[in-house]
């Protein structure tokens, strides 16, 4: 029982890490540009598809990853150049419409190019198998690697934001855009940088998740909404908030699905517990979001008094 809990905790953390990778770029985009981008999940999906393609072509996970990352970056930059930069000054409604159109287009495009059937990516030999954790408990090496890679990215991001000039501008910009503009910083260059970086992180998440999830055209959309939940809980524009919220959401979602029914059994009869548990588990993260918002409308680390 304790072992199962530990296992689910790790799975939750791993899921949370993925959410963080997708959310990190997006929360900055929201914070700095006040730009609502529904199409960010597409980059996660594209990352996974490019990974599947390149890994298939080269026959190597590592070469695939090496090619997929810059390819996603380029893809993101092209999108930024063609579409997003024309939307910054538009109303939220226009942004919603255009990025919604982009989702329709790109998801359908993926379906045309790769088909609707899920694709698989082989796990690299180096990272297959499991390691013993505690007692009889084993955990897949690959998932540990995902957690490690995600944590490394988070630390790298933290260093970038706290110890570089661009990072300083980002921190200032995410909470006070006019001020950064007033400093004479070329906001559009800064944003392109953020966007490209965010695209690469999302693509990276998609690429490394490919061996453990099936790659399908709906994957970008299902993660997008959870990403929104993460950003709302963490507070728009806050990397730290996104990290904590992502782990929280990942763990609550994963642990809730397994343990919800089990814990409910302590207070109700088994069949009712199973039924209620199944019903409540997928709603948990949304209830969590509602609770946080009720407490603080700008999330845990959002700018207070933000409009």
């Amino acid at each position: 029982m304790t072992n199962l809990f530990l296992l689910q905790l790790l799975n939750g953390a791993q899921f949370g890490i993925l959410l963080f990778l997708v959310a990190a770029g997006l929360t900055l985009v929201f914070g700095i540009m006040d730009f609502i981008n529904l199409a960010h999940g597409v980059l996660y999906m594209v990352g996974a598809y490019l990974m599947a393609t390149f890994a298939g072509l080269t026959g190597s996970f590592w070469l695939g990853l090496l090619l997929a990352m810059p390819a996603t970056l380029v893809f993101g930059l092209v999108l930024e150049f063609l579409v997003f930069r024309r939307l910054y000054d538009r109303s939220h409604l226009d942004q919603v419409l255009a990025t919604f159109g982009l989702i329709l287009m790109l998801s359908e495009g993926v379906r045309i190019l790769w088909g609707s059937a899920p694709l698989n990516v082989d796990m690299p030999a180096l990272l297959s198998g499991s390691v013993p954790l505690a007692g009889p408990l084993k955990y897949p090496v690959y998932r540990i690697a995902v957690i490690a890679a995600g944590l490394a990215s988070a630390v790298g991001l933290w260093a970038l934001i706290n110890h570089t000039r661009a990072g300083m501008l980002l921190r200032a910009g995410a909470s006070n855009r006019p001020m950064v503009a007033a400093l004479g910083v070329d906001i559009s260059r800064l944003f392109m940088l953020v966007f490209a970086f965010g695209a690469m992180l999302a693509g990276f998440a998609g690429a490394i998740v490919a061996p453990i999830l099936s790659v399908d055209p709906g994957m970008g959309e299902s993660i997008l909404i959870l990403t929104f939940v993460v950003i709302v809980i963490g507070g728009v524009g806050s990397i730290r908030g996104a990290f904590l919220a992502a782990i929280l959401v990942g763990v609550v979602d994963t642990v809730g699905r397994t343990f919800g029914p089990i814990w409910l059994r302590m207070v109700m009869d088994p069949s009712a517990a199973a039924q209620t548990g199944r019903m409540l588990a997928p709603m948990l993260v949304y209830l969590l979001m509602a609770a946080v918002l009720f407490w603080s409308p700008t999330g845990l680390f959002g700018r207070k008094g933000a409009k």
């Binding site: 609502i36 939307l87 538009r90 409604l93 419409l97 199944r278 709603m283 949304y286 009720f294």
Partner: protein
């Protein structure tokens, strides 16, 4: 107010046109088109209800389809409990929608801008998952209805009966919203859309007005859901998916927001377009998405501006 406003005239023309559709398509020998036209009417109701909050209240809700789902599930639940009267089902749908809208609206309206968009989307997704988890209602796959509802003892099994009931509901809701948006309440809502700070400086607290509008819009949208379930004789969580919410916004904006008539026109055109495009290609979404992106990018003022220049929906109701 003796002469009819242009947008009112346009709406009347649309309603008369739609009333003539069933005899026309029967004469043309393709009565199935009545069902397609009925779909248009259902979505016109949904788009109208969205116009109240998005067009008049400037609340960009990305979760409006949830209420389409509540309405549809009211029919499924009604059928299970032996309630087959349409009005009773509408009441049930409205009660569920009002409850959900009151709670989630109160939380969402504490926020603004991108937060509001994301939160309404997330709450709708929560409702979606709730119904996915209801295995007794078919879960993910949904549930087929044994029979259509009846209205005051008259069965709506025939396509014609359902069609004219839908049209009646559309006209009634249009008329109600027309009055509402011209009333004191409607004026405050429009004022809040224009400048919430100014409204506060006049002595208004925007929150209750916005919340009431949010709840009214939810209830009206659930009427569309009840009718949609009857039309398809099928209920599933897909009705409340977030794509559907996006499509409702597209319909509304395409016809022009904040005019009511535009919502009706936009829904008729968008549903029609969808039917036609789907005939030509399975991949119609690619073209649809591309058009959407291009229009927003290259039409000054976005889609709204384009609709205005094409004269759809007439000028904004101010």
């Amino acid at each position: 107010m003796s002469a009819l406003a242009p947008r009112l005239k346009a709406a009347l023309a649309l309603f008369v046109l739609m009333a003539l559709v069933p005899p026309l398509v029967t004469a043309l020998g393709d009565p199935f088109l009545t069902v397609v036209a009925n779909r248009m009417l259902v979505f016109a109701i949904a788009a109208l209800s969205l116009d109240l909050i998005l067009g008049y209240g400037a609340m960009v809700s990305f979760g409006h389809a949830a209420y389409l789902g509540f309405g549809a599930y009211a029919v499924a639940l009604g059928a299970r409990w032996g309630v087959s009267d349409l009005l009773a089902q509408i009441l049930l749908g409205m009660a569920m929608s009002a409850g959900f809208a009151l709670v989630t609206g109160a939380i969402s309206l504490r926020t603004k801008g991108v937060y509001f968009i994301m939160i309404t989307l997330a709450f709708a997704q929560m409702a979606y998952f709730f119904f996915v988890a209801q295995s007794s209602l078919g879960g993910d796959d949904g549930v087929a209805l044994q029979a259509r509802s009846s209205l005051l003892g008259v069965s709506l099994e025939g396509d014609l009966a359902l069609y004219y009931v839908t049209l009646g509901a559309l006209v009634a809701i249009y008329a109600g919203l027309y009055r509402l948006t011209g009333s004191r309440f409607g004026r405050v809502l429009k004022g809040t859309r224009e400048n919430a700070l100014r409204m506060q400086a006049m002595g208004y607290r925007p929150f209750p007005y916005q919340l009431i509008a949010y709840v009214i819009a939810a209830c009206l949208c659930s009427v569309a859901g009840v009718l949609l379930a009857n039309l398809t004789e099928y209920v599933s969580p897909a009705y409340m998916g977030w794509h559907r919410s996006g499509e409702l916004i597209v319909m509304l904006v395409f016809g022009g927001i904040g005019t009511l008539t535009g919502a009706v026109a936009g829904a008729l055109v968008a549903v029609g377009l969808e039917e036609v495009l789907a005939i030509f290609s399975d991949h119609w979404r690619l073209g649809f998405g591309l058009v959407l992106v291009l229009v927003v990018l290259f039409s000054p003022d976005g889609l709204t501006g384009l609709a205005k220049r094409l004269g759809i929906g007439g000028s904004k109701d101010v």
